[in-house]
Amino acid sequence: MIQTILDALSYGGIYGLAALGIGLVFGVMRLVNFAHGELIAIGAYLLIVTIDLGLPLSILIAVTGTAILALLMEFGVFKRLRLAGPAVLLIASFGVSVFLQRFYEIIFGALPLSGQIAPWMAGVIEFGDTTITRGSVVTIILALVLLSAMWFFIEKTTLGLQIRAASSDFQTARLLGVRSNRVIGAAFVFSGVLAAAVAFVLVTQRGSVDPLFGVNITILALVGTVIGGLGSLQGAALGGFAVGATISLLNSFLGNYRVYTYTWLFILVIIVLLVRPGGLISNKAVKERV
C-alpha cells in the first residue's frame, strides 16, 4: 500500500518534471514541443556513454549536453519560425523529433544501449514490515528539489519574472523591455536541464536507452501540460503530476484491464479539452473555440 502511494508520487513527480519542461517553452512561445522526448533521450544516451567517468561527471555532461541540444533546436529551427502559428510549430517539432530519433539511430544504433547508472537505486529500504524501493524515494526527493528550485527561479529571480511575464502576454512583455530571444533561450535551457533530470530517473529504472526512449513520457507529459493548462507553469507541473499519479494508480487498480489505462486517460483528456479548451488552470491567451 505504501509502495503504491510512493510509486504514484514518484511517477507523478517525474511526469511533473517533464510537463514543466514542456510548459516552460510553451509559455514563452506557444510551442508544444514534441521533441522534448529527444532531449530526454540524449540525456540518457550521454549518461550511459559516459558513466565510466564516474557518476557526478557523467551527470554534468548529460545536463550540459541536453541544455546545448535544447539551445540548438531553438537556434536551428524554432527561432526561424517566430511568426508561425502554434499548429505550424507543433508540426515542426514533430519533424525535429523524428529527425533526432533517426539521428540517434545512425549514431548509437537502433538497438537499446544498456548500462548501469546508479545501481544502488534498485535496492530496498525496510521499515518494519514494509519495504520500499530506494528509486522511488530518490525520485520523489529529486522531483521535490527540482520543482522547488524551479519555483524559486520563476518566482524570485528577474529572469523568472520575465519568463512569467512573457508567458502571460508575450507582446506586452516585449514592449515593456523584456528581451524576447533571451527569455526564450533561457526557457529552452531550463527545459533541457529538466529533461536531463527526467532522463536520469528513467534510465536508472530501465537500464537501457533506444532512439524512441523519450517518446512515451513526452506524449503523456504533453497531455499533462494540456490538462493542467497550457501557458500556466504551475498548471503544467500539476497536470503532469496528475497524469503520472493517475497512470500509476490505474495500473495498480485496473488489474487485468490495465492495458486500457491509456484509453481512459486519453478519453479524459478529450473531455477536459472540450469542457475547458484552455486547460484546468486556464490562460486566456490560448483559448480558441468555435
Binding site: 506557444r30 508544444v32 529551427v77 526561424r80 519560425l81 511568426l83 508561425a84 502559428g85 502554434p86 499548429a87 505550424v88 507543433l90 508540426i91 515542426a92 514533430f94 519533424g95 525535429v96 523529433s97 523524428v98 529527425f99 530519433q101 533517426r102 539521428f103 539511430e105 545512425i106 537502433a110 532512439p211 517518446v215 506524449i219 504533453l222 497531455v223 494540456v226 497550457l230 492495458v259 486500457y260 491509456y262 484509453t263 486519453f266 478519453i267 483528456v269 478529450i270 479539452l273 472540450l274 479548451p277 484552455g278 490560448v286 480558441e288 473555440r289 468555435v290
Partner: protein, 350 residues
C-alpha cells in the same frame, strides 16, 4: 492567430472548376503509376502502397487544407478502415485458427474486396462523424491535441481488444488486389471527390472560415457544421486508405497506422502544400521518390567504382529535415498551395 501553412495565397482559394486543375494531377498520377509499376513486381508493390498513401494524404488535405485545423485523428480512421476490411474479407477458416478470441458474428462474415471497401468507408466516415460532433468544437492547438488523443485511444483499443481484431498481432491473409489498376481507380475517384468537394459551395465556405472565422460566420456559415461535414468525408477517405493498405500488403495491424504513418502522411501533405489537391499529389510523389532513392543508398549503391552505403535511418532523417526546411523556407509547400497549372507549376514564387 494565422497559420501560414494553412493559408492559401490565392485568396480565397480555387473557386471555379477548371478542367486542367482536375485532369492535370489525374494524368500525372495515372501515367506515373503505370510507368513505375511496369518496371518490376517490386515496383508494382511500391506503386500500390504509394497510392494507398496518396489517398490518405488526400483525406488529410480535404480536412486540414480546407478548414485550416490541424488533425492527427485521421490515422485512427485509417486503422478503422484497415481493420474493418480485414475482418470482412479474411477467410472464415483463418479467422477461426488465428483470431480465436474474435466476436462470434464477426468470425462468420466473409465477402469480396469491393463490397468490403464500401462498408469500410461507411464505418470510417461514421466514426469520424461521431467523434467530429465533439472534436470539431475545438480549434487551433486544442484541436491538434484532442485529435492526437483520439489517435492514442484508437491505437490502445485496437492494440488490445481481441474481440474486434488480432490485438498486438497481425491480421494475416487479407486478400490482395489482383492488379495495380484497382488502386489507381480508387485513387482517381478520391482525387475527383476531393477536388469537387473543395470547390463546392461548402468547400469555399469552409475555406472562408479558415481565412476569417468571424467574417464567415457573419455570412451565415456554421463553422462547426462545415467542419463536421469535412471531417466525416476525410474520415471516410482515410478509412479507404487503410483498407487499400490492407489489401496491398495482405495483412494489417494496429501499429501500421501509428506515429510513423501519421508522421509520413502529414509530412507529405506539408511538403507538397496543404491547401491544394495538387499539393497532396506532389508531396506524396516527392517524399516517395526521395525515400526510395535513399533506401537504395541504404542498401548500397556503386557510383563510378565507389561504393556508397548510407546507414539505416538516413531516410527518415532526410524526410524529417525536408519537412522542417519546407516549414521554414517555403511554408506553403512545393506547390505554393496552388492547384495544378500548366504555367510553371513549381517555380512561381508565392
Amino acid at each position: 492567430m494565422s497559420d501560414d501553412l494553412l493559408r492559401s495565397n490565392q485568396l480565397p482559394g480555387v473557386t471555379r472548376f477548371k478542367w486542367q486543375q482536375l485532369l492535370g494531377p489525374i494524368v500525372v498520377v495515372v501515367a506515373l503509376s503505370y510507368v513505375v509499376s511496369g518496371i518490376s513486381v517490386t515496383f508494382t508493390f511500391l506503386t500500390e502502397g504509394t497510392l494507398a498513401l496518396l489517398v490518405m494524404v488526400l483525406g488529410l488535405q480535404v480536412f486540414i487544407g480546407n478548414s485550416g485545423v490541424l488533425s492527427f485523428g485521421q490515422s485512427a480512421f485509417a486503422m478503422v478502415g484497415g481493420f474493418a476490411t480485414g475482418l470482412l474479407t479474411v477467410p472464415v477458416k483463418i479467422k477461426e485458427n488465428v483470431l480465436d478470441e474474435l466476436w462470434e458474428p464477426l468470425k462468420a462474415i466473409n465477402m469480396g474486396i469491393w463490397p468490403s471497401l464500401v462498408i469500410a468507408v461507411v464505418i470510417g466516415a461514421f466514426f469520424a462523424f461521431l467523434t467530429g460532433l465533439f472534436l470539431m468544437r475545438l480549434s487551433g492547438l486544442a484541436a491538434g491535441i484532442a485529435t492526437f488523443a483520439l489517435l492514442m485511444v484508437a491505437d490502445n483499443v485496437f492494440f488490445n481488444w481481441r474481440l474486434i481484431g488480432p490485438g498486438p498481432q497481425v491480421m494475416p491473409q487479407v486478400p490482395k488486389f489482383s492488379f495495380v489498376d484497382e488502386s489507381i481507380i480508387l485513387a482517381v475517384i478520391v482525387m475527383v471527390v476531393v477536388y469537387l468537394i473543395g470547390i463546392s459551395r461548402r468547400g469555399r465556405l469552409l475555406r472562408a472560415t479558415r481565412e476569417d472565422p468571424l467574417a464567415a460566420r457573419a455570412l451565415g456559415a456554421s463553422v462547426w457544421r462545415l467542419r463536421v461535414l469535412f471531417f466525416t468525408v476525410s474520415g471516410g477517405i482515410a478509412a479507404l486508405s487503410g483498407a487499400m493498405y490492407a489489401h496491398h500488403s495482405g495483412a494489417v495491424s494496429a501499429r501500421d497506422f501509428y506515429l510513423g504513418f501519421t508522421f509520413t502522411t502529414l509530412a507529405m501533405l506539408v511538403i507538397g502544400g496543404a491547401t491544394s489537391m495538387w499539393g497532396a499529389v506532389v508531396g506524396t510523389i516527392a517524399v516517395t521518390v526521395i525515400g526510395q532513392i535513399l533506401l537504395e543508398f541504404e542498401s548500397g549503391v556503386t557510383i563510378g567504382g565507389l561504393e556508397i552505403t548510407l546507414p539505416n535511418g538516413v531516410r527518415g532523417l532526410v524526410i524529417a529535415a525536408a519537412l522542417v526546411a519546407i516549414l521554414i523556407w517555403r511554408p506553403k509547400g512545393l506547390t505554393g498551395g496552388r492547384e495544378f497549372s500548366l504555367r510553371l507549376p513549381f517555380l512561381s514564387r508565392p
